[in-house]
């Protein structure tokens, strides 16, 4: 272990202990680590933005010998300057054009992606749930394949029913859904509850893995420290 690694390990050890001090309640040492983390993260993100985005892609092309490259840099630079006008209430309207551009392009990319990357392929896949030829091709048990497809189909349809809020308006009475939709939505609620359970287990599992890694780091560091003292 070189000096930089050693100093890094000591810092990691101390900061981990300070974060764990939150178990005893909120305290200044814990808050110090959190402020430090936020500061380092913000500073690092700023450096990456300057070093990896602004300097090579916005500033450097301005001094290029290629005219198209200069133009390609001037347009985003102009839009970025207009966007900075949003910081001042007096001239904030100047930032409307780049803002509209950002929202428009962002929304178009996101919606296009959802439609072609999730909606169509997933609907197509759901329609293939009962393709028995597929089960045979994949060497799966046909009965199991059908049961699996049936569960997914029932879960999808009843979950859709749960989110169906169409109800006939009746004067002076609460809105009530059609009885058959209500029945389906109760089944859908069960599937949604199971989904929440799976999501919770996943989140817990991820958090537990992080905890195990940190505890393992503490133990390993102490072991290393002790062994180096003993050998010295």
């Amino acid at each position: 272990m070189n000096l930089a690694d050693f100093i890094g390990s000591i810092l990691g050890f101390l900061l981990t202990l300070l974060v764990f001090s939150y178990l005893l309640g909120d305290n200044p040492l814990f808050r110090l680590v959190i402020y430090l983390f936020i500061g380092v993260s913000a500073g690092f993100a700023g450096i990456v933005a300057i070093n990896s985005v602004l300097l090579p892609r916005l500033i450097a092309p301005l001094f290029s010998n290629s005219f198209p490259e200069v133009i390609q840099a001037i347009v985003p630079l102009f839009l970025a300057l207009l966007l900075m006008a949003k910081l001042s209430p007096r001239i904030s309207s100047w930032g409307t054009v780049p803002m509209a551009y950002l929202v428009g392009v962002g929304a178009a990319a996101a919606v296009g992606g959802v439609v072609t990357g999730t909606l169509f392929p997933q609907v197509n896949s759901s329609m293939n749930l009962f393709d028995l030829q597929l089960a045979v091709d994949r060497g799966m048990n046909v009965g199991f394949f059908l049961v699996n497809g049936g569960i997914i189909l029932v879960g999808t349809i009843t979950s859709f029913a749960y989110f169906h809020f169409g109800a006939r308006a009746r004067p002076n009475q609460p809105a009530v859904r059609q009885p058959w939709i209500e029945e389906l939505s109760q089944i859908g609620l069960m599937f949604i509850a199971i989904t929440y359970g799976v999501l919770f287990a996943g989140v817990y599992s991820a958090a537990l893995a992080a905890l195990v890694e940190r505890l393992s780091f503490l133990v390993e560091f102490l072991r290393l420290l002790l062994s180096s003292f003993i050998s010295a």
């Binding site: 993260s41 690092f44 993100a45 990456v48 933005a49 070093n51 990896s52 985005v53 090579p56 892609r57 392009v105 962002g106 990319a109 996101a110 992606g113 959802v114 072609t116 990357g117 999730t118 392929p121 997933q122 896949s125 293939n128 393709d131 597929l134 989904t195 799976v198 999501l199 287990a201 996943g202 989140v203 817990y204 599992s205 991820a206 537990l208 893995a209 992080a210 905890l211 195990v212 890694e213 940190r214 505890l215 393992s216």
Partner: protein
């Protein structure tokens, strides 16, 4: 995942995406170590990218310390193209025009047109012959949140499939992301061709490929933690039921209700 890596040709080009925060590195490093170790043992050239600012540094840390005993040299066996700005829009741009979206390496060197050569040539062996994203032999994404995972599938995966070519996309994900990513893996046709999930997936991959990258006590502590949580939930539920039943009986004995 194992089959995907086993089927890679010699000196394959693999795009490796590091899209996780440092807070999840404990889980994802453990899950991904055996996968990346497998890639390295197959002699794959690695190209690293990330859509989060801290990702490129995590990638360097991962390759230099987490994957033990690797003799991979930066800019020879692997190249770090750094940060892709712009979220989903940036990813779309990356899929459409790789060279203009990431023109430089993390060191600030021109990635693609070394020695003033034509576009598509590179002085870096991992980028040699890479004109488009589909020229990679495999795309592996290490990701800790479902939005980013979906963005890669929605914006990038369609550009990996076309007439006469199909570059597989695989993911190593945090356990909290699995329920939202699995439908893409279970879909027919599959939208992602490989999936390794959290510590459990990492351990399973290790076992399958005969590797020992994860310390044994790591897995034991995880199992005990999971069992403890399950036990606590069951005890809590039983106490809750008992409290409700006895509370109701007491209420009935004392005359009941309001």
């Amino acid at each position: 995942m194992n089959n995907l890596i086993e089927q890679l040709p010699e000196e394959a080009s693999v795009l490796l995406v590091f899209d996780y925060d440092p807070g999840f590195s404990g889980e994802l490093d453990a899950a991904a170590t055996s996968v990346v170790d497998h890639l390295i043992s197959r002699g794959a050239y690695l190209t690293l990218v990330s859509t989060i600012p801290v990702g490129p540094v995590l990638a360097e840390r991962f390759l230099s310390s987490t994957v033990r005993n690797n003799n991979y040299v930066r800019n020879i066996h692997y190249v770090n193209l750094g940060f892709i700005p712009g979220g989903p829009t940036g990813l779309l741009s990356f899929a459409e025009d790789l060279h203009h979206t990431l023109p430089y390496t993390l060191d600030g060197e021109a990635a693609w047109s070394g020695d003033g050569g034509p576009v598509g040539r590179s002085v870096f062996p991992p980028l040699e012959g890479i004109e488009e994203l589909s020229d990679f032999n495999l795309v592996v994404i290490l990701v800790d949140d479902s939005f980013t995972a979906r963005s890669w599938i929605e914006q990038v995966q369609p550009s990996l499939i076309g007439e006469g070519f199909h570059t597989p996309m695989a993911m190593v994900v945090s356990a909290q992301v699995e329920p939202l990513v699995r439908p893409y893996y279970d879909a027919d046709p599959r939208q992602i061709q490989g999936l390794v999930t959290g510590l459990r997936g990492g351990a399973a991959y290790e076992q399958m490929t005969g590797r020992e990258t994860m310390p044994g006590y790591y897995w034991d502590a995880f199992i005990y933690g999971m069992n403890a949580a399950g036990l606590l939930i069951i005890i809590g539920a039983l106490v809750g039921i008992a409290y409700t039943l006895f509370g109701q009986r007491e209420k009935e004995q004392s005359g009941g209700g309001v």
